[in-house]
């Protein structure tokens, strides 16, 4: 069955953006960002609010289409694909602002993602329960984020923190080559945060996935990241080893600094 595909050591999943740019009217939210992300590494993307991190993600995963530049996955230009096609190409995404199927059960939320991965969405003739393996797998995933107790509750009735975990579980279900986390722990209570961080850690330990992580909590970044890139006003300001980047004046001033940042005109 498809969902237990053999794990090969040299997995594809190398992602590259070339001069990726988007303008909203006069405002350039992402400005000619060129960057390459290799499988087996976790890259943290940091930057002040409004720097363009989420927009950068949106451009990669296809929620927005670039004004200029390309997105390449394993060398293939996927810039013109729709979001759903990019998902099938191997890009997975969790959203900063939780986006779930509010009136469907927690289980169904995850199951839908698994079903998409299996590409049986257009099967109109079999009853959904015929695909029992999907349900089992969905239960496993819920277990891994400690949501199995709320399995049958509608997603909307979960407290905020649990919804964040479900958001992550959806991404896990897609099992993509490239994982993109957008502030996965925001709004999660201190005792729940480790659950998600553990998941990311395990993912990283497999050394075959490309992981992108947007995060404001520097302790988390420091612990997990192999590499940090800094976005500021839409441009790539720094790129390198975590300690070096964090120590760089750009980050110290523009991001961590005590005084409000005076933005460039």
């Amino acid at each position: 069955m498809l969902q237990h595909e053999p794990e090969s050591a040299s997995r594809p999943g190398s992602l590259e953006t070339r001069d990726l740019t988007i303008r909203f009217g006069g405002h350039v939210a992402v400005n000619a960002v060129s960057c390459r992300f290799a499988p087996g590494t976790l890259t943290a993307i940091v930057g002040p609010n409004g720097a363009g991190k989420t927009t950068y993600f949106n451009l990669i995963s296809g929620q927005l289409h670039a004004s200029a530049g390309q997105v390449l996955l394993d060398g293939r230009d996927i810039s013109s694909l729709a979001a759903s096609a990019r998902t099938h190409a191997g890009l997975g995404r969790a959203f900063q602002l939780t986006s779930l199927f509010p009136n469907l059960s927690v289980l169904e939320n995850v199951r839908l993602a698994l079903q998409s991965r299996r590409r049986i969405g257009l099967d109109m003739w079999n009853v959904w329960t015929r695909h029992g393996a999907l349900i089992e797998r969905a239960d496993e995933l819920l277990e891994s984020v400690a949501l199995q107790a709320r399995r049958d509750a509608p997603a909307a009735s979960l407290p905020h923190g649990d919804q964040r975990k479900l958001e992550v579980a959806l991404l896990m279900a897609l099992d993509p080559q490239v994982y993109m986390f957008d502030e996965p722990t925001a709004g999660m209570s201190v005792d729940e945060v480790p659950v998600v961080l553990d998941l990311i850690r395990k993912l990283k330990a497999r050394r075959d996935k490309t992981i992108l992580l947007v995060e404001h909590k520097m302790d988390v970044v420091r612990e997990l990241a192999d590499r940090i890139i800094v976005l500021h006003n839409g441009t790539l300001m720094a790129d390198g080893e975590p300690e070096a980047v964090i120590a760089s004046p750009v980050v110290q001033q523009a991001y961590l600094g005590q005084a409000p940042v005076e933005e460039a005109a």
């Binding site: 409004g50 407290p159 209570s189 404001h216 302790d219 961590l256 409000p260």
Partner: protein
Amino acid sequence: MSENILSLKGVHTHIGAYHILHGVDLDVPRGQLTMLLGRNGAGKTTTLRTIMGLWQASQGSIRFDGRDITRRGTPDIAQLGIAYVPENMGIFADLSVRENMLLAARGARSIADIDTARLEWIFGLFPAMKKFWLHPAGKLSGGQKQMLAVSRAIVEPRKLLLIDEPSKGLAPAIIANMITAFRELKQTDTTILLVEQNFNFARQLGDSVAVMDDGRIVHRGPMAELAENEELQTRLLGLSLAAHQ
């Protein structure tokens, strides 16, 4: 006038068929900043919504500034001088930042009526507000929306601010600004009840603290006490985890 500007006594709240709050007792001392902590699903948001009258308490009483507000409508409660920043931020996505602010300033008929100094102060805290003044608020970044939500609550003086997780999604520099802002607000005799997950943030700000679990208040006391007592932290919040320290 009483010491506590807000006090909840034995408040129970039901959402549909679910019993969420099981008798919350909470006092918020005037002019102080009270932190409300607790794990996911403990009922913090529900407590704030019940205070605002967005959900009706099925039992118990809520007093604000000497008045019983248990059965009052939300607009009434707000008009008594409470501002609320909801968990989902409650941004009017369709309206511009400016229009969002104008609506939040209940006393103002146009932007010109808003106190210029106060507006400048907000722009100083959150430069993005000024930059995106005429943009539709729905197009702001996640953190910028959060800033707007807080800006709306402080655009006019209020007696009490109820703020649900303002720090989530904010860059460290902005969090620092917000800490300053809350301190300054306290100077002007504003009481704040703050729900927070970020313990670092909570520790720097809080005067007193209440911890919720499963729809009840399980601990109350001065912040300093909790901040120093690691054992208590672990027990109440599961905080010993290295990842977050």
